[in-house]
């Protein structure tokens, strides 16, 4: 049994993941965030449970904050329209959360998968 990861170590991983996720978003396809998280979880030998949670948190933060940031920089009626289309009752706040949710699950599932490859 490995000893549990320290909080500061986990925080550092989240920070690294967020930076990697954002850079991946700018230059690579949307799912690159997941693949890079898997790679990171693999080389850092993250425990599977931690990997999932850290990937989830990081993916959520990257996508939710970026969505919020874009809407701040380019305010338009589009998020409101999309929040009606999905349908989320027109709530842009819920749309940020939904964006974060998809980024988070993508990050979490892939980080978990990467970690699992190491723990035979």
């Amino acid at each position: 049994m490995r000893k549990p990861l320290s909080f500061s170590y986990q925080l550092a991983i989240v920070l690294i993941m967020v930076v990697i996720g954002a850079i991946a978003g700018i230059y690579l396809p949307w799912y690159a965030l997941g693949i890079l998280f898997a790679f990171l979880a693999y080389i850092l030998r993250l425990p599977t449970g931690n990997a999932f949670v850290l990937g989830l948190i990081s993916g959520f933060l990257v996508w939710a904050i970026s969505a919020y940031w874009i809407n701040l920089q380019h305010p338009s009626s589009l998020p409101g329209r999309m929040a009606n289309l999905f349908p989320l009752g027109g709530s842009v706040l819920v749309l940020y959360v939904l964006s974060g949710f998809f980024g988070g699950l993508t990050g979490g599932v892939w980080a978990w998968a990467g970690a699992k490859l190491r723990f035979k």
């Binding site: 949307w30 799912y31 996508w63 969505a67 380019h74 338009s76 289309l85 599932v109 699992k116």
Partner: protein, 815 residues
């Protein structure tokens, strides 16, 4: 086992990603779509600051520098140094704002929607191709290329669109590509021809021949001709009665023998678009400025992105402003220094059906003029998203395509099976030359010359110049026909039933500077019965045309504002005649909801204003009254689709034929209804239905709430990208023809000036940008609904100073 356990999560991750990377049915690819780096978030555009910004762009293919300035409506004013660059820039800039729409509409026109939406697009796609959309576009493209100048415009426009497409990466594709999960393809000049051809589908594909033959078969010729007369009882034709004739008519072909035909019986849903348009021009002696003024408002399906896109195009020899149709070069409706022009649709009969007699099941030969003649075939290949491709064979007689074989189910109820289609939209044509020349016209002679190249869809081309001329040509290619030829389905074996050439273009109905001082058109009868040629038996109802003419007759000292008032006129001229007749016959118990509604109607000022309750009651009553009179004998929902007599004919019956057999409801076996019973019964039914829909008589009965005018996104059901429930009055039979789904799609008023500085105003219900993430997506709708117009900025040179300019883009060649 361990190995599987460690691979399983990876498999899950891949499945998750695959699921979110692709679209499933109508569900978009969620991962790609919602990613803030790739999806819809990227399409958000911040509103302009109000300051003038500058930008340099390099695009492939330009010969010299092009300067573009955008005003506060986001209208580009393009200054190029030659034609080629001008149209290349038009293609580039239009695509920049409207790429998805341009491609989607031409995909639709060319029968290729199933490539995007899968199998459910197939029936519409097959219909488009069987009707000869692609065949017609190919032929008209051949004709367009014959004019070298037009050929340059089409090729340069196409190069411009492609230069824009090539500058895109997946993440900055227009939103709709992300929603529907596909990518733009290369533009080609023939797509512009397809777009123009599609205007014939929109405006000149209406056909009642089958329904009329079904009536002929059921009731015989006397009743058919009595209920469906060949000229309205009340009319104010487009060409003023008494206009002198400046041509000697050619001989009229002999009539074919009477033909009953098989008709056909296929149950399909009814579609009834309410498409029409208004335009008018007034002479200088009726205006304050002393020079002519011209107004136009084409009514089309209201959509987002809008069918129109404003632009100013300036190059040596041309400085034109107006509305363009994304997908084709040049301005379609607009003005330049010296002239202004506008169009409305001509409802003449340019489409006929011929019952085909094939020799055998191979359909290799058909009977005509006493001989077996060979059919030709055309193969159409359909790519279907998520399915195997489908190959379709279309058989052609010398008339045209056999749209549906006898055993097939037509896409629309008015299309007969087992008939070949003869349609003017299949002719070789040169519409692009007409618009190229109109954009550069400086006087009446230039305008008249430009029109000689035009075929279809036929339009009432209205004209005004700063030399003081106003003119109108009912223009297009019109088949030379005997009286009522083609009102019913025709005999495909009879050579006399064939079209015998066309009315010579100089003989098309026209008028110039009439004594009454104005010209107008609103899709009503082009001419009075003294015109020597037969053009068709059925045009749009006369109400809008009559109202416009009576107002223009009465108006003097005309200004931009008084014409704007006329464009927004919603006086119900039909109610003026009909309502007193109906109220006189109405017998209902007083008091209660019926009494309240009757009082409301009696108080009504006959204006279909947005908040009018009387308008709601009247319109709904007339609808149910027509049902009550005609639905029993001319049921639209029976397997035999039939026309209903027009309102013009119905009004005649209410006025003069109280004993007509049609008043009786044949569905009630032991009772014979009379006129008063039908009128009162339909009133009660109408009030009951309004009560059920809107509650007790009150503000919920307001006309606009009942009518529900909306500007809807081109993808059906995309309410989130649409503007619904718009507070606007009017209706189909009023000058302000805003109905539930159609309406004035571009309103323009031009005041010409001797100095070549025309003052123009305009608006359309949409916005310049096709991007729902732009402030310019729908920013003009409120102005439009209020009945206001925006001043149109007409610049001389790119350095012109105006507080309305927001953005400057310098386009230069990409090395």
């Amino acid at each position: 086992m361990k190995y599987i356990k460690s691979i399983l999560p990876l498999t899950l991750a891949i499945i998750w990603t695959y699921a979110l990377h692709n679209s499933w049915g109508t569900l978009p690819p969620l991962g790609k779509l919602i990613s803030p780096f790739h999806g819809f978030w990227v399409n958000a555009e911040a509103p302009e600051s109000g300051e003038l910004t500058e930008e340099n762009l390099q695009i492939l293919g330009l010969e010299q520098v092009v300067t573009v300035v955008y005003d506060e409506m986001a209208v580009p004013h393009v200054f190029a140094q030659n034609d080629h660059d001008l149209y290349l820039a038009q293609g580039y800039l239009t695509a920049k704002d409207r790429l998805w729409q341009m491609e989607f509409q031409t995909h639709f026109a060319g029968g290729r929607i199933s490539e995007i939406v899968g199998e459910k697009g197939m029936v519409s796609d097959q219909f488009q191709r069987r009707m000869g959309a692609v065949y017609g576009a190919e032929k008209s493209f051949e004709g367009m290329k014959e004019d070298p100048k037009a050929a340059v415009t089409l090729q340069a426009y196409s190069d411009g669109v492609n230069a824009y497409i090539e500058s895109l990466t997946e993440r900055n594709y227009p939103l709709e590509y992300k929603l529907l999960n596909y990518a733009p393809e290369k533009w080609t000049p023939i797509k512009s021809a397809l777009f123009l051809k599609n205007m014939s589908f929109v405006l000149a594909s209406g056909t009642d021949d089958l329904k009329m033959t079904n009536i002929l078969r059921k009731y015989g010729k006397d009743i058919a001709e009595n209920l469906f007369p060949n000229y309205p009882f009340v009319e104010s034709p487009i060409i003023p009665v008494g206009t002198p004739r400046d041509f000697k008519p050619v001989p009229i072909p002999e009539s074919p023998a009477d033909f009953i035909g098989l008709g056909s019986a296929m149950k399909t849903p009814e579609k009834d678009p309410n498409i029409g348009s208004n335009n008018w021009a007034v002479s200088g002696n009726k205006t304050v400025s002393g020079l002519p003024m011209l107004a136009n408002d084409p009514h089309l399906t209201l959509s987002l992105p809008s069918i129109w896109y404003q632009i100013q195009l300036v190059a040596p020899g041309v400085n034109v402003y107006g509305s363009t149709m994304p997908g084709t070069p040049n301005v379609i409706v607009g003005f330049n220094k010296n002239v202004a022009w506008g169009v409305t649709n001509v409802g003449s009969d340019v489409l006929d059906w011929y019952q085909v007699k094939f020799k055998d099941a191979s359909k290799a030969e058909y009977w005509h003029d006493g001989h077996w003649k060979k059919t030709t075939i055309r193969i159409e290949k359909f790519k279907i998203k998520g399915k195997e491709s489908f190959v379709d064979t279309i058989f052609f007689t010398h008339h045209g395509p056999v749209v549906y074989l006898s055993h097939e189910k037509p896409f629309k109820s008015n299309i007969p099976v087992g008939h070949a289609l003869r349609w003017v939209a299949h002719e070789k044509s040169q519409e692009s030359t007409t618009f190229y020349q109109l954009n550069r016209a400086s006087n009446y002679a230039d305008y008249a010359q430009a029109l000689t190249f035009y075929s279809a869809p036929a339009q009432n081309f209205l004209f005004a110049s700063n030399q003081g001329d106003i003119a109108l040509w009912v223009n297009g290619k019109f088949p030379l026909k005997s009286y009522t030829h083609g009102k019913y389905l025709l005999d495909g074996t009879d050579p006399k039933a064939d079209w015998q050439g066309f009315i010579p273009q100089p003989h098309n109905p026209h008028a110039k500077n009439p004594a009454r001082g104005f010209l107008s058109s609103a899709n009503q009868s082009s001419v009075d019965p003294s015109y020597p040629y037969y053009m068709g038996w059925q045009y749009a109802p006369s109400e809008r045309g009559r109202r416009i003419n009576e107002r223009l007759e009465a108006m003097s000292k005309i200004t931009m504002d008084s014409l704007r008032g006329l464009q927004n006129d919603h006086f119900n001229i039909r109610a003026r005649t009909l309502l007193p007749l109906l109220l006189a016959k109405l017998k209902l118990p007083a008091g209660g909801i019926y009494g309240q509604a009757t009082d409301e109607l009696k108080r009504w000022n006959l204006q279909n204003a947005a908040d009018s309750k009387g308008a709601t009651i009247f319109e709904n009553w007339v609808l149910l009254l027509q049902d009550a009179i005609w639905a029993d004998e001319f049921a639209a929902d029976e397997n035999v689709p039939m026309n209903r007599p027009s309102m013009d004919r119905t009004l005649k019956m209410i006025q003069d034929e109280p004993e007509a057999i049609w008043w009786d409801n044949v569905k009630t076996k032991n009772k014979k209804e009379n006129m008063a019973e039908i009128i009162s019964g339909s009133f009660a039914a109408s009030i009951d239905s309004l009560l059920k829909k809107h509650g007790p008589l009150g503000s919920e009965w307001a006309w606009y709430k009942h009518k529900q005018t909306g500007v809807r996104h081109l993808i059906p059901g995309m309410d989130a990208l649409s503007r619904l429930n718009i507070p606007i009055g009017g209706g189909g039979t009023m000058v302000n023809a805003a109905t539930t789904k159609t309406g004035p799609s571009w309103r323009m008023i031009v005041e010409l000036s001797k100095e070549g500085r025309p003052r123009a105003h305009g608006v359309y219900p949409g916005g310049q940008s096709g991007n729902p993430g732009s402030a310019h997506y729908d920013d003009l709708i409120d102005t439009w609904a209020k009945g206001e117009l925006r001043p149109l900025l007409y610049l001389e040179k790119p350095e012109d100073v105006s507080g309305r300019l927001r953005k400057k883009i310098v386009l230069s060649t990409k090395k």
